[in-house]
Symmetry: C2
Subunit: 109 residues, 2 copies
DNA sequence: GCTTACCGTAAGTCATGACTTACGATCTGG
DNA sequence: CCAGATCGTAAGTCATGACTTACGGTAAGC
């Protein structure tokens, strides 16, 4: 459903670091920012994107705000990938072992 | 392993369209570009990124070049997501049903 | 061999977004 | 009630990357 937002959100390396820190357990914004090479407002903006993608959720706790993983975004992404995995199986297996020259990955000079 | 390249590649909407067209079966560059709102060189550049991410592979066929899905990139992405799915389970379930107010998704004005 | 078709790359333009500092809002403790 | 702590947002800067047109290179057909 919103797999596109989840993809765009997780494409950024800093945002992935924020997300991975949350996978270890709920954290406050300041706790996430400390140790990261960016400022705390930057982390707030990243969390806003992650929340819009359904990847994290938050809960007020006093003057602080605890963020934690929301499985919804991950589930949407997994569903999209799995649909792709199945759809591309026939198209891929028709080409996988072919006698012709097949260049893959990297751009060799 | 190279899940970061796959994420960055699939984050772009045009590149996703290219990728989805390939999921239906192998296509030449011109066949992919026709119907897309971008030029053929743009498609070539997108295919270069997709190939570097291990998401597609190509094979020369005469003066044309057939591109098709490479499951390697999708597998790397799935593996990364699944690892996350497991790691975040405990952290998530500790917060999922909590009596406190929990705001999720979207940025309501 | 020459033309045509198909493709990759170079160079340049322009918008997007990731960051910063500055400010205002909210909640808690004394 | 005031001081401090924690956070979100506004405004502005700067790099990245998605696109264009132009060009060169290779393979097939006549």
């Amino acid at each position: 459903m919103t797999y596109d937002l989840a993809l765009a959100a997780l494409a950024d390396p800093t945002r992935r670091q924020v997300f991975e820190r949350l996978a270890a357990g709920p954290r406050s914004v300041g706790a996430i920012a400390s140790g990261l090479p960016v400022s705390r407002p930057a982390v707030s903006q990243h969390l806003k994107v992650l929340r819009a993608a359904g990847l994290v959720a938050d809960r007020a706790q006093g003057t602080r705000r605890l963020y934690f993983i929301d499985r919804g975004g991950l589930a949407a992404l997994r569903a999209w990938l799995d649909r792709f995995w199945d759809d591309s199986l026939a198209a891929f297996q028709a080409e996988v072992e072919r006698p012709a020259t097949t260049r893959k990955k990297g751009n060799q000079p």
